[in-house]
């Protein structure tokens, strides 16, 4: 017992020393502020986007949406127990997928456009073939011991999931089995995003940390701190060198991966609502962040200034997405509507 206590004390000391070392190394690399450096970049002015479409169809709160790679179809998930696939050019509903469990938290479109996936309080990630005559359940990925908060396809044969059981997982869709389990978070995992080159992904959790993982190795490479509450939303900057996070602490942050630290904080004293979702414009210059205050606020990612707002929802904005061609923004809300803006 005494030997064990001695070892624990030694390990704790080593932990503290390593944390101090990391902080010192980050400080040494912090030779100038990003927002000051961005002083020389031209302002984007006021970003005023118009509401182009109001998509009605869901009968309850919308929790998630995701664009298809064709930048035209889009899938949304609601606690009315349905996934709806929309043609956003016409506003028509293309496919309705009835869910076994109405408590859905996440939805994703496979890059091929053939499959969609969803999951939530059932702890299961269900994959559907929507190109069949009527939507067919392809796989039920059942191994998480907590709710499914996020799912992201790498291809028609692999998918990543994030869970309230504090782990993320890479699944083989051909066998329906787990390939790799990513463990390191000490709080519910709430969101994940794949790097542009698909070799890494980033996760945000209720331990207020964001972690970078190697998809193939299964290892946690870097940990980013700074938020003071749950990280609900996370996205890669298009160059792959930075990530943006959105949190219940009412702020968004940008972390640079190569500098291994926070480089910008997006806060406004008048904004006292948690961030639920976020998406970036194609150049990475604009951040569209959905908040509990019923709005989607637009930030200049380089200068850290608020440059616009998308107002119109009558309840919390729960999901936000920009298609691959960057031609618009979609916001989904607890008011049961999806809105398209550009």
């Amino acid at each position: 017992m005494a030997a064990e206590k001695a070892e624990m004390d030694a390990l704790k000391k080593e932990c503290d020393a390593l944390r101090t070392q990391i902080e010192a190394a980050r400080k040494a690399a912090n030779d100038g502020s990003m927002s000051a450096a961005a002083g020389g970049v031209a302002s984007v002015g006021r970003v005023q986007l118009k509401l182009r479409k109001n998509l009605k169809g869901h009968l309850a709160k919308i929790y998630a949406m995701h664009w298809s790679a064709d930048s035209r179809s889009m899938v949304s998930a609601s606690q009315d127990g349905k996934l709806l696939v929309w043609d956003t050019f016409t506003g028509n509903k293309l496919v309705a997928v009835p869910l076994k469990s109405a408590w859905v938290m996440s939805v994703d479109f496979a890059p091929s456009g053939n499959l969609v996936a969803s999951g939530g309080l059932d702890n299961i990630c269900t994959v559907y073939n929507i190109k069949a005559a009527s939507p067919k359940t392809l796989r039920e990925l059942d191994a998480h011991t907590g709710y499914l908060s996020c799912c992201r396809f790498l291809s028609d044969s692999e998918i990543l999931t994030a869970s309230g059981d504090t782990t993320c997982c890479l699944w083989d869709l051909e066998t329906g089995k787990q390939k790799i389990i990513f463990t390191n978070h000490i709080g519910d995992c709430m969101s994940l995003a794949l790097s542009p080159d698909m070799n890494y992904f980033i996760s945000g959790a209720c331990d207020s940390l964001a972690k970078l993982w190697d998809v193939r190795e299964g290892a946690c490479k870097q940990t980013f701190s700074g938020h003071t509450s749950d990280i609900n939303a996370i996205a890669f900057f298009p160059s792959g060198n930075a990530v943006i996070t959105g949190s219940d602490d009412c702020s968004c942050k940008m972390y640079d991966l190569r500098a291994d630290q926070e480089v910008l904080d997006y806060t406004d004293s008048s904004l006292n609502a948690g961030v639920t979702s976020l998406a970036l414009s194609n150049s990475g210059r604009l951040i569209f962040a959905g908040y509990d205050d019923f709005n989607c606020h637009i930030w200049d990612s380089l200068k850290g200034e608020k440059v616009g707002v998308l107002s119109g929802h009558d309840n919390r904005v729960s999901c936000t997405g920009v298609p691959e061609d960057g031609m618009g923004v979609c916001t989904g809300s607890w008011d049961s509507f999806l809105k398209l803006w550009n």
Binding site: A37, R52, G146, S239, Q261
Partner: protein, 86 residues
């Protein structure tokens, strides 16, 4: 936000009872191992990181429709008004 999901999870009885780590020394060793990995990371300067991010934005600005604006005739989401041939 997660708090409401955890509450629902409890109400629908699917919360896992996570077994406490039986070997806390092993757990502490894993934490130290992870911190060693993170401490070994080679960082670049924030000034270089910022410069690269700014360069990326400015170089890709012209490929960003939401930044540049979209012509009405090329806007896929804009409702097309019906034409009347006089």
């Amino acid at each position: 936000m997660a708090a409401s999901w955890r509450l629902r999870a409890v109400l629908s009885s699917r919360m896992s009872s996570k077994a406490p780590s039986s070997n806390s020394v092993a757990h502490a060793r894993r934490i130290v191992q992870q911190l060693k990995v993170e401490a070994g990371f080679e960082r670049i300067k924030v000034s270089k990181a910022s410069a690269d991010l700014m360069t990326y934005c400015t170089e890709n600005a012209r490929n960003d429709p939401l930044l540049m604006g979209i012509q009405a005739s090329e806007n896929p989401f804009k409702d097309k008004k019906p034409c009347t041939i006089l």
